[in-house]
């Protein structure tokens, strides 16, 4: 186990990825919106200062006078994923091991014989120069302390984006100043529980008897306390966990009220889920499908959902037939459906399940799907698709403020003017 863990985290990662290619955005407040341009999910400090909150619905706040200068952008996940890949590669070239914890945060093995303050400053500079993302770095003897250090670096500009929590005295000082909910793994419920017991600061929490913590917060809470004391319980994970299930769910761009459209949408999601399954060489043994209204619009709540076991498959045609067959009896006319989705569970490696009473021909199915996937790989996703997934798709997710996919699409690459 490394003696020092680091956490590097992109500042307003999505906004920074946008600013990397559009210098005009660097002097303006920027907000990135969720799917369907629904609500704010990333904000630059300027946008935060203007009062844009996480989750603010775009259609409600866009008219506010003080927000006139804000640049609102659709989420460009192709770009963010590729910029995250670049950050990872820069780090992997410099430190022994990197755990990509999320698209914008990576844990580092910093068990290296160097002056870490100098090294991490250089790491930040290099990520900024090469992958174009400004970051903060925190480090300490455990992952929980590295995460806390990172948060401190982010909240205290005077630290220059760096925070070292290796020294127990430095830690104790911060522990007395910070509320317990700043700790990774201490959620809202736990905080309430702790507050009821008079625990306000991290110092209060660390001072609790370990057995008392285990009794009220289970072994998970006890582990957090151990980590805060400098005893490492969470090792670096270098591989993503194997999939337990796979989902394809999306909010519609407008309410769906006819069965024809709902059937189309569900078929389209089933088709995408099938593609994902085949990309990973898996088959699903259980399928769930749902559709529901949005009570926040003032519509009455209604949720249609069904699930069933299916013969193991990754065949798009089978998934569509099963999904539509399942949802049809649960669908009710008269409701304005806002969202639908498919969930596949009980995933097994393709071709591994014994098929004593198979009703379909798996070889023929695999061949047809392989042809379809090859054509779609060559001519773009959706070039060849099942007709029931719809042609016009007016319900499909809208992203009307999408920036170019600068690094993943040949037609979208950055254009530069000669001086």
């Amino acid at each position: 186990m490394p003696a020092v863990y680091g956490l590097i985290d992109g500042n307003s990662f999505y906004c920074s990825a946008e600013r990397a290619f559009a210098p005009a955005l660097r002097s303006q407040p920027v907000v990135v919106l969720s799917n369907n341009d629904g609500c704010a999910i990333a904000r630059t400090p300027e946008a935060k200062a203007l009062g844009v909150k996480m989750g603010d619905p775009f259609h409600l706040v866009r008219g506010r006078r003080e927000l006139r200068g804000v640049q609102w952008l659709s989420s460009n996940y192709s770009l963010y994923g590729d910029m995250s890949r670049r950050v990872y590669q820069v780090l992997a070239d410099r430190v022994p091991r990197v755990e990509p914890y999320s698209i914008d945060e990576m844990f580092l093995d910093l068990d290296i014989p160097v002056d870490l303050a100098v090294f991490c400053a250089e790491l930040r500079r290099e990520v900024r120069q090469v992958a174009k993302i400004p970051t903060c770095v925190g480090w300490g003897p455990t992952k929980t302390l590295a995460k806390l250090a990172n948060g401190i670096a982010k909240d205290h500009a005077e630290l220059g984006g760096l925070c070292d929590l290796r020294d127990p005295e430095v830690r104790a000082d911060w522990f007395r100043r910070l509320p317990v909910d700043e700790v990774w793994g201490i959620g809202r419920r736990t905080t309430e529980k702790l507050k009821a017991g008079g625990v306000e600061t991290i110092a209060d929490f660390v001072a609790l008897d370990l057995r008392a913590v285990r009794d009220s917060l289970t072994v998970v809470g006890a582990r957090v306390q151990m980590e805060l004391k400098g005893v490492s319980c969470l090792p670096l994970q270098l591989m993503a966990a194997t999939r337990q299930g796979l989902a394809c769910t999306r909010a519609f761009s407008r309410p769906v009220t006819t069965w024809e459209e709902m059937r189309e949408a569900v078929a389209a999601y089933a088709a995408r889920a099938g593609e994902k399954l085949r990309e990973e060489g898996l088959e699903a043994c259980q399928l769930a499908v749902f559709a529901h209204t949005n009570p926040h619009n003032g519509d009455p709540w209604h949720s249609a959902n069904r699930s069933a076991r299916i013969e193991p498959t990754s065949d798009t045609r089978t998934l569509i037939v099963e999904a539509v067959r399942l949802l049809e009896p649960a669908w009710r006319p008269g409701y304005r459906y806002a969202k639908a989705g498919i969930m596949l569970n009980d995933l097994v490696p393709a071709g591994e399940q014994a098929r004593l009473f198979a009703t379909r021909n798996p070889q023929a199915s695999a061949k047809t799907m392989a042809v379809m996937d090859t054509i779609n790989a060559q001519h773009g996703r959706g070039a060849l698709r099942i007709a029931s997934t719809g042609i016009a798709r007016s319900w499909a997710t809208k992203a009307q403020r999408l920036s170019p996919r600068y690094t993943t699409r040949w037609e979208d690459i950055l254009q530069v003017d000669t001086y």
Binding site: P23, A24, R26, V87, V130, K132, Q415, V416, D417, T418
Partner: protein, 135 residues
Amino acid sequence: MTPPRHPDLTGDGAYRGAETTGFVSPASDHIEGPIDLTDVLDLRRPGRYPVKVLGEGLTHRGILPGDVLVVDAAAEPHAGVVAIVMIGGDVLLGQLIWRGGRWFLRSGRPDRLPLALTEDAEVWAVVMSLVRERV
């Protein structure tokens, strides 16, 4: 089922010059696949970005409008290189020069003075190679 006409479509069984059915291919130990320009141009490196040229200011360096340049953000800028500079909200391509202790961006146009790179200017990346789709 009729066999597909393009071996590509059979996935794993694609013919690459070695997978003969009758006579053993004498090339089977020497198959290397087509040249991959992603490797040649080193596009997997984290600092490599492709960009498209607008304008005719660098024709004297053989860089034409419509050309795609592969630039490297990890490369150290030095005098004489062609680089992308982000300055005051603009993205500009030009030649870096060092004069009187300061960096400038030189234009290929005779009627334009070199642009002084101020504090807020960022040398975004240095041009490494050029791709021209249609010659």
